[in-house]
Amino acid sequence: MNKILFNIKDLSFSFSKKEVLRSLSLKIYEGDYLSIIGPNGSGKTTLIKCLIRIYESPEEKIYFKNLPIEKINQKKLAAQISYVPQVTEQSFSFTAKEFLMLARYPHLSRFTSVTSDDKKAVTEALDITSSTHLANRQMNTLSGGEKQMIFIASAFAQGGEVILLDEPATFLDPKHEQEIYEILKTIHQQTNKTVVTVTHNINSAILYSDKIALLKDGQIEFYGASDEITENNILEKAYGKKFTFIKHPTGNKSIIVPEVL
């Protein structure tokens, strides 16, 4: 068994009066590719944001490498955990390269400028995401797919051993969507980084990830190997809808096919 990276114990989290996470417990293991799925409003994004302290969770509920997350300095945390937010329409007036350099912030010391390590990390990030040709483009001029690739590159440049992603491919066309998942797989396999991604695409979760966690009403409804999600009507109970599965022609996994009424 691999080491536990995140140990979430009995985590509850509310916005004003609405409780989003309810005594949620989950362990995330080093080197895993974990997909977090679940119906809208089940708390997926909130959970991810708690893991990087965008939302401050109650004390001693989330442990990262055996330390309560709130005890870790934000910069040190960011040096170990990278994050890709949900696709945003907001514009940034930086070039892709400048944007990646900003992701090196956790490694910068205040009185020295950019080091060769930083430059190397940025070059590698552009390389592994095949986006070297975008380096000097303004972020505002990139297409949705290109922009998302740069975000993934920035998470890679940030250098964390964990990459958290919030719906990395939701608004992309099928080609770009597949590209994103392929790159994540490559990053996961080549560098053995832990990948935790929130997604609505159950098939990608089944095909690409090792494990799946299914959230419903702020609790973990299922956690296990990704191909087990199609068993025992787990999905049907969670989403309140019937699913039909077929075997994927290449490989052994069952995937969902669209229902025809």
Binding site: I52, I54, A78, Y83, P85, F92, F94, L102, Y105
Partner: protein
């Protein structure tokens, strides 16, 4: 890329130096170069030059720089070009504090800081706390909400200022009103010494945090995830801006729009990297306000136009232009 940014800074520094050294010669009384070194006590022109015009030009520079980088900081923190200490009501909070001090007629100083500056600082802080609380309660509130909150805060403090004026006699009232228009008429060196510590500390903090400002323009979520302790940094920046804005306002009155126009123009010139942007703002902001003040004291000489009127005449249309552009692209930072 970086080289060209340094060249830009060099070019504008030279321009600012030129502005600083030439404008004191211009005015109702044109001063020939040879007289400025003639310290013959009977020479009134030397006196005008050293006692009136030079300190005036210097304080205009300091005030312009401070207003510009305060504006830049607000724009980065709120991720919007329309968010400045002036539009969000911080200036009117400071103005209220300073006006209240005038009306109360108490004269005190603390650690060598004049009471009016301290009152202005408290006023600025109150506005900032209101804005800050609003942005906390309504997480991710829209530009519209934010500007309306600014309008409300402005109304709130303006009515207090009106009330103070109403309670004052004619002379007091006139002097408050004249001060509210902003201007550099009766500036001496002591005023510069008085506010310089505020400006230096405030600017130093902002320069020191310029990388954090870059990350804040990406949005708070991304900034946090990249390791910025956002609340701590924002609090520090709020205090730094309050220090500068209140320092400037307590001496020269609430001069508007510099903090909106200069950062925007500077960004068009040198880009969004705050490590360079902050210096361009200092240089251009300072030079700009000196030029405005030179216009203010020469256009209808021997009378003077309050410099705040000049900046507002330029700033009003600029604001509308930004508003139109902003609606197309919600985050023009």
């Amino acid at each position: 890329m970086i080289k060209s940014k340094k060249l830009i800074l060099l070019f504008f520094s030279a321009f600012a130096l030129l502005v600083i050294s030439l404008t004191p010669f211009i005015g109702m009384e044109t001063i020939p170069f040879e007289t400025i070194l003639n310290f013959d006590s009977t020479n009134i022109k030397t006196d005008i030059f050293w006692r009136l015009r030079v300190p005036r030009v210097l304080i205009a520079f300091v005030a312009g720089s401070a207003l510009a980088i305060s504006g830049m900081t607000f724009q980065a923190m709120f991720r919007n070009s329309l968010a400045t200490p002036f539009t969000l009501g911080v200036s009117s909070g400071a103005a209220f504090g300073a006006a209240l001090y005038v009306k109360l007629g108490i004269i005190f100083s603390f650690l060598g800081i004049v009471g009016q500056t301290i009152f202005a600082f408290v006023g600025a802080l109150i506005s900032i706390i209101i804005i800050y609380t609003l942005s906390k309660i309504k997480r991710g509130f829209s530009v519209g909400t934010m500007l309306l909150a600014g309008v409300a805060i402005n109304f709130f403090f303006s009515s207090f200022i009106l009330f103070i004026q109403f309670m004052s006699d004619f002379t007091e009232s006139f002097s408050i009103m004249r001060w509210l228009m902003g201007g550099f008429e009766i500036i001496g060196y002591s005023d510069i010494y008085n506010i310089l510590p505020f400006i230096i500390i405030g600017s130093a903090i902002i320069i020191f945090l310029s990388t954090e400002l870059n990350l804040l323009t990406l949005g708070e979520d991304i900034a946090i995830s990249r390791g910025v302790s956002v609340s701590k940094i924002k609090n520090t920046l709020f205090i730094a801006t309050s220090l500068m804005v209140s320092g400037v306002i307590s001496v020269v009155g609430p001069i508007g729009f510099v903090g909106m126009m200069i950062p925007h123009i500077s960004r068009l010139i040198i880009g969004s990297d705050h490590r360079y942007l902050v210096f361009l703002n200092i240089i251009v902001g300072g030079a700009f306000l000196i030029l405005c003040d030179t216009l203010a004291r020469t256009l209808i000489a021997p009378a003077e136009i309050p410099v705040g009127v000049i900046t507002a005449l330029l700033g009003g249309p600029f604001f509308i232009w930004l508003l139109i552009n902003n609606s197309n692209d919600d985050s023009s930072i």
